[in-house]
Symmetry: C2
Subunit: 194 residues, 2 copies
């Protein structure tokens, strides 16, 4: 998606260690107009899928999923990253490793909000090694719901998560795929024809 | 806001200890259509204010703030609840006590995203004792930005947060104010003429 790639080039920052910071428009301060264009693009890419619910994970996936949900006319559910005393009843749970925060999270969705009748689109902001996404895929499978696809804002194409998820036969649509970054020259290479 | 009050009566659950669970439509599964009506109502109540940015706090404030931002045509910024290694540079920080989770959080906003030129509307899902909101008010003050108002989905009017914040002279608009709940009879009383 050219609009997102252009914005990454304009306002993203490349740091040592293959870190791409987009916190001025995507995951701390958030440009809602950009998210609307991304929501339309997700709808275009999943136009042939029957979606009943969008699943995301707190925190930065929530804005993208909420705005996109308007184009699918469905509710969202966000997976929570640690047990809350306000979340009673039975839950689907898994553990995910966050390399950004260097810790392991419990990820939880109430059983009330994922059912075998649901057709799920998973939406998140970043895909790198795929740990968070594989956790969400596991929760969807545990619920018996159908996973119709995964929509990602920015995929780090040089890490293995995207390839592994596509090999599972899942429709994975990343609006921008970064195939390489160089923090010394501040360059970002996007996958062509994406 | 009658639509929100009706939804709380229909799908909210009253639990012992003055707990009101709205996780089927507001803070785990989220009804985006309802959020759109709430966003319009926030815009109506703050129509005379010049707003340049909406500030919220992760996680459940993000969806409400994102949808509301479409009616104000401004970006959102969400305060983060713990230090992230991806958040470099200088930040405004404060500590807040969460009674729901029984712990103290560091709350952080990058200095890049709150400036003295900003006119801030704070949006969050719940207001009870006001600890989270007072933390956000402190961050806005530290930045030199103007706090134009606070929009809340559900205020527990029998707790002191709302009164304290109104006494500061801040325009606080809560779309539903619960003045009392009884978990034995499953009744909820809303403040009239709100």
């Amino acid at each position: 998606m050219k609009m997102l790639e252009d914005r990454i080039l304009k306002d993203g920052t490349v740091k040592e260690g293959n870190v791409l910071k987009v916190d001025s428009f995507l995951n701390h301060q958030i440009d809602i107009e950009l998210l609307n264009e991304m929501g339309k693009e997700f709808k275009r890419r999943f136009a042939d899928k029957k979606i009943t619910k969008i699943l995301t994970i707190e925190a930065s996936g929530i804005a993208i999923a909420s705005i996109a949900a308007q184009y699918f006319k469905v509710p969202i559910v966000f997976a929570k990253k640690s047990q809350s005393i306000n979340l009673d009843g039975e839950s689907y749970t898994t553990k995910i490793q966050s390399f950004t925060h260097n810790r392991v999270y419990d990820v939880i969705v109430s059983k009330k909000y994922l059912s075998p009748d649901d057709h799920i689109l998973v939406i998140d902001d970043f895909l790198a090694n795929g740990c968070a996404l594989k956790g969400l895929i596991e929760l969807v499978k545990a619920s018996g719901a159908s996973l119709e696809g995964i929509g990602i804002a920015i995929e780090k194409g040089f890490q293995k998560g995207g390839e592994e998820i596509r090999q599972m036969g899942i429709q994975l649509e990343s609006l921008a795929i970064v195939d390489g970054m160089d923090w010394t020259t501040k360059t970002i290479n996007f996958r062509a024809n994406n």
